[in-house]
């Protein structure tokens, strides 16, 4: 039988601060192992944490972006557990006073908006990174002490689709507000998924099963589905579901037991005595400006008349989105600009894997091109050639137009002559299709474009073709 699932997510994101949370080491990724780790990051005897206040700037920004209330008292706690990647064998985190609480974000399910509630968000430090090689465990403390924000949702996610939409929305928000890189593959975003099922709507919640560190958005979906299935079979057989921690195995597409509640850690939280209280006043909170978030952008783009496919392509590519806004701010037509960016330009970027800011095109060049299209100086077909040439060679638009002979033919006499020639040369086809005007129009237009390499003005040409055919 079918059961009702309840899902909650705990998402960890690395903050894009310059320095680590509790030492002056740099916040880096991909450097030589242990090159950015000092005695604090390594948990050496006698070392004490400092406090990088920047993490509160990020915490406040995140609280605002996720509609959370903000705790004005910044306290830290110690979470005690032994693990080789945990340099002090305690982690500095926020247990009693998370930076933000009682928030929400909105997702759209089948054109209906749904609020996913956020229990709390708290600041903490990352652990070292472990590598397992040839029976050895190697540790890189460059990651030790990098600031994290943990975002804990309430369990009001109903299924795998909502869970994926929630994570995608979180990624958009954190990325657009410049809080985190949210790269799951590089580990700057990590997700733990809690799943429980129950028989009926009015039943109390079932025992929670936590699936640790799910590696991709697609895996979140698959992990939830396979866990619901596993628990349903247990329920069907009247077996007990024990509170436990599991991990998702992508190859097997199933979850594997890590530990049950009986062996669950007692983290012995207590207030961190080495870091005094940080008071967060209104002035501090007000000084943190929120950047424009994706939902506001969506509304803006809709008001420009950009279609939903274009909007989604823009939002999911933050750079493209920034580029569009720069171009529009120069006065360019939003729809034409958006079409060019999400069309030929995006496919070039996807093909070559380069950032738009590392190509020959810039907002002012794009603005000139958009204006030429809008003023009917060049056709959209010509623009394809021009964009390709700009991206490949960096040549000026006017130079390309001249070299490629891309001048739009608008002279009516010239076009009329051409049309009449086409009719004369194809009299058999024309005479046998006189009853189908539309077919003839299309045919003649095709020939016109063929003869002019697509340079004929399509609107003027069509007018002239219609005139000729009426006669």
């Amino acid at each position: 039988m079918a059961y009702i699932p309840t899902i909650g997510l705990e998402v960890h994101c690395e903050l894009k601060t310059k320095n680590k949370a509790f030492s002056n080491s740099k916040n880096t990724y991909g450097l030589t192992a242990n090159s950015e780790a000092n005695e604090i990051d390594m948990g050496y005897p006698g070392a004490l944490p400092t406090l990088n206040k920047e993490i509160f700037d990020f915490g406040i920004k995140c609280a605002k972006a996720l509609n959370c209330k903000i705790n004005i008292d910044g306290y830290f706690d110690r979470k005690n557990y032994f693990y080789p990647d945990n340099s002090k064998n305690y982690q500095i985190t926020q247990q009693d006073y998370p930076i933000g609480y009682d928030g929400y974000i909105e997702i759209e399910v089948n054109q209906m908006k749904k609020k996913i509630y956020i229990e709390e968000i708290h600041l903490e430090e990352d652990t070292a990174k472990s590598f397992h090689e040839k029976g050895l465990t190697l540790l890189d403390f460059n990651r030790s002490g990098i600031p994290l924000i943990e975002i804990v949702s309430k369990p009001n996610i109903s299924n795998e689709i909502e869970a994926v939409l929630y994570v995608e929305k979180l990624r958009e928000i954190l990325s657009y507000s410049d809080i985190s890189d949210v790269k799951i593959e590089e580990g700057s975003m990590r997700c733990d998924v809690n799943v429980s099922i129950r028989k009926e709507e009015y039943d109390k919640l079932g025992h929670k099963v936590e699936i640790k560190n799910v590696g991709s958005i697609n895996s979140i979906k698959l992990a939830i589905l396979s866990e619901i299935e596993r628990q349903s079979i247990l329920f069907d057989n009247n077996e007990l579901i024990v509170e436990q921690t599991r991990k998702y195995d992508e190859k097997a597409n199933s979850t594997i037991l890590m530990r049950t509640k009986e062996t669950k850690n007692d983290y012995r939280y207590f207030p961190e005595p080495d870091i005094p209280r940080v008071h967060i006043d209104d002035a501090w909170i007000n000084s943190i400006q929120l950047l424009v978030l994706p939902d506001e952008l969506r509304e803006k783009y809709r008001s420009y008349g950009i279609n939903d496919i274009g909007i989604n392509a823009l939002i999911s590519n933050k750079e493209l989105n920034g580029f569009l806004n720069e171009t529009i701010s120069l006065g360019a037509d939003p729809i034409i600009s958006s079409n060019l960016l999400t069309g030929d330009i995006l496919s070039y970027l996807n093909k070559t894997g380069v950032s738009i800011y590392n190509t020959y095109i810039n907002p002012s060049i794009l603005n000139r091109l958009v204006n030429k299209i809008k003023n009917d100086e060049i056709s959209s077909k010509m623009s394809k050639v021009i964009i390709q040439k700009i991206l490949e060679t960096g040549k000026d638009i006017d130079v390309i137009v001249k070299e490629e002979g891309l001048i739009k033919i608008t002279n009516k006499e010239e076009l009329n002559l051409l049309i009449n020639n086409i009719i004369n040369n194809n009299s058999n086809f024309i005479n046998s299709n006189l009853d189908n005007k539309i077919k003839l129009e299309k045919y003649i237009m095709g020939q016109v474009m063929k003869e002019t390499n697509g340079n004929a003005d399509p609107i003027i040409s069509l007018e002239l073709i219609k005139e000729v055919l009426i006669k």
Binding site: F82, F270, P276
Partner: protein, 473 residues
């Protein structure tokens, strides 16, 4: 053999300035006396080669401050770069740090000369020095007695003038009690006065580094050198003052109080008598002396057992054999066994006992039942003590309840905590306090407790007694 360490720092400094003596003369005196007194076991590690090298280097430099060329001993829980730092524990027996503590940086800048690292109770847990992995230190006055602890080596090295000055650390009395037991001057500064960066943490909210010396003025001079705000210790405070500035002034008109708790039957009658003599002396010198009650002061021991040990259980978690220090030789196949064997073999019994208690009071619901309740009572006790300073300049009383006892007495853990009954309340409140010798044949310490960041008044008061009160009386 020279005896320059009988002289106050000011006189030694003058002789160095006059080129009458060189730093190497002082270093030689230190090592000669240490080597003649090896049986006291005051040091774990000597820094002989580097100390001699440094002394010779200093010969060509200008004597620009009062600690220039002065030998100093450091308790072995103060981190010294490239110089073994063991905390008197097997688990750090071979540990050579990669950085310097803030106090060591300050001392190096002043060109003081680090002679060695002194013996102590393992991880500063104990009050007899008997929990040291390297064996106990002997009492400087009576070799058959305990020297006190945990800064036993620092107190004995100064008492026997192996060095003129030393640093200890005080979490519940670890500077004051051994100072009292060896007739030297030891001060626990206000919490935050001296940076804890590079002090191997026992209890982060109680620990404080402080000076141990033979005279009050030398003590103030050493505190001048090591105090100040440190951006590496968020609990440190800005201090920009000269602690010697009030020394030599009269104490007439001052008001002091004695908590009744400090003169109860728990305190040896001989010590109480001695304190009463001091009180008479004070009254003769126009000092007002009142007796007061302090609510919750009798809770100090349980507060210590909960707060200090809870923090310790977390602070000592990093000693796991993964990144530094002792690791088990046992063939193990999983990380949990690696931790268990390493820590079981590396820590001594007292340390293990305290980690267990500390873990217990933080486990599950105990954190509310014990730890959080203790924090709230600590605040009440502290407030009660602060309020006294609205009416009095100082709180005084004995430092210890008794005299040094025989080595190997093997007091139970609980009895051992009772040794600190008069010193722990001060750490709970973060106040500064000194132990000043007032005994003659038998060592007795007068504890002088000041208001927050008011060490100056302690030094004024102590210096007056030091020069005017006749200890033999």
């Amino acid at each position: 053999m020279s005896n320059y360490f009988d002289l106050p720092l000011i006189t030694i400094n003058q002789k160095l300035k006059n080129k009458e003596i060189k730093p190497i003369d002082l270093v030689n005196e230190a090592f000669e006396k240490i080597e003649n007194n090896m049986e006291y076991n005051a040091f774990i590690t000597l820094n002989k080669e580097k100390a001699i090298k440094k002394a010779i280097e200093l010969e060509n430099k200008e004597v620009d401050n009062i600690l220039f060329g002065i030998p100093i001993a450091l308790k072995d829980n103060i981190i010294t770069k490239d110089l073994k730092t063991t905390c008197a524990s097997k688990i750090l027996d071979d540990f050579i740090p990669i950085y310097d503590s803030t106090v060591v940086k300050k001392l190096n800048k002043l060109n003081a000369i680090i002679i060695g690292k002194t013996n102590m109770d393992e991880f500063a847990m104990g009050s007899t020095n008997e929990t040291s992995y390297y064996g106990p230190v002997l009492n400087a006055i009576d070799k058959t007695k305990v020297p006190g602890g945990s800064s036993g080596g620092s107190a004995v090295s100064v008492a026997l003038k192996m060095v003129p000055i030393s640093l200890g650390s005080d979490t519940g009395g670890s500077i004051r009690q051994p100072s009292a037991f060896n007739n030297v001057v030891g001060l626990k500064p206000t919490y935050g006065r001296v940076s804890r960066y590079g002090l191997v943490a026992f209890s982060s909210s109680l620990d404080q580094i402080g000076p141990i010396t033979n005279s009050v003025i030398d003590n103030a001079i050493l505190l001048n050198a090591i105090s100040g705000i440190d951006n590496k210790d968020l609990t440190s405070s800005e201090t920009n003052e000269d602690f010697t500035s009030e020394i030599g002034k009269t104490i007439s008109g001052m008001k002091v109080c004695i908590p009744n708790f400090y003169m109860s039957e728990k305190v040896d009658i001989e010590i109480r008598n001695k304190i009463n003599k001091v009180i008479n002396f004070l009254k003769l010198n126009n000092v007002l002396v009142d007796y007061v009650d302090i609510n919750f002061i009798d809770y100090a021991i349980p507060l210590y057992q909960i707060i200090a040990l809870a923090e310790a259980s977390s602070n000592l978690a990093r000693f796991d054999g993964v990144r530094f220090g002792y690791k088990t030789d046992k063939k193990i196949t999983n990380i949990d066994d690696f931790y268990k064997y390493t820590r079981n073999e590396g820590f001594g019994d007292e340390v293990k006992r305290r980690i267990m208690i500390g873990s217990y009071v933080l486990s599950g619901k105990n954190v509310d039942i014990y730890f959080k309740k203790a924090l709230s009572i600590r605040k009440k006790l502290s407030d009660n003590m602060y309020q006294l300073f609205n009416h009095y300049d100082l709180i005084i009383g004995p430092t210890t309840t008794g005299f040094p006892y025989d080595l190997g007495t093997n007091k139970s853990s609980n009895e051992s905590f009772m040794d600190d009954i008069l010193t722990i309340p001060v750490n709970m409140a973060g106040l500064p306090a000194m132990s000043l010798p007032i005994g003659s044949n038998k060592p007795i310490g007068l504890q002088i407790i000041g208001n927050m960041f008011d060490e100056k008044t302690i030094y004024k008061f102590a210096a007056f007694l030091e020069s005017n009160y006749k200890r033999g009386e």
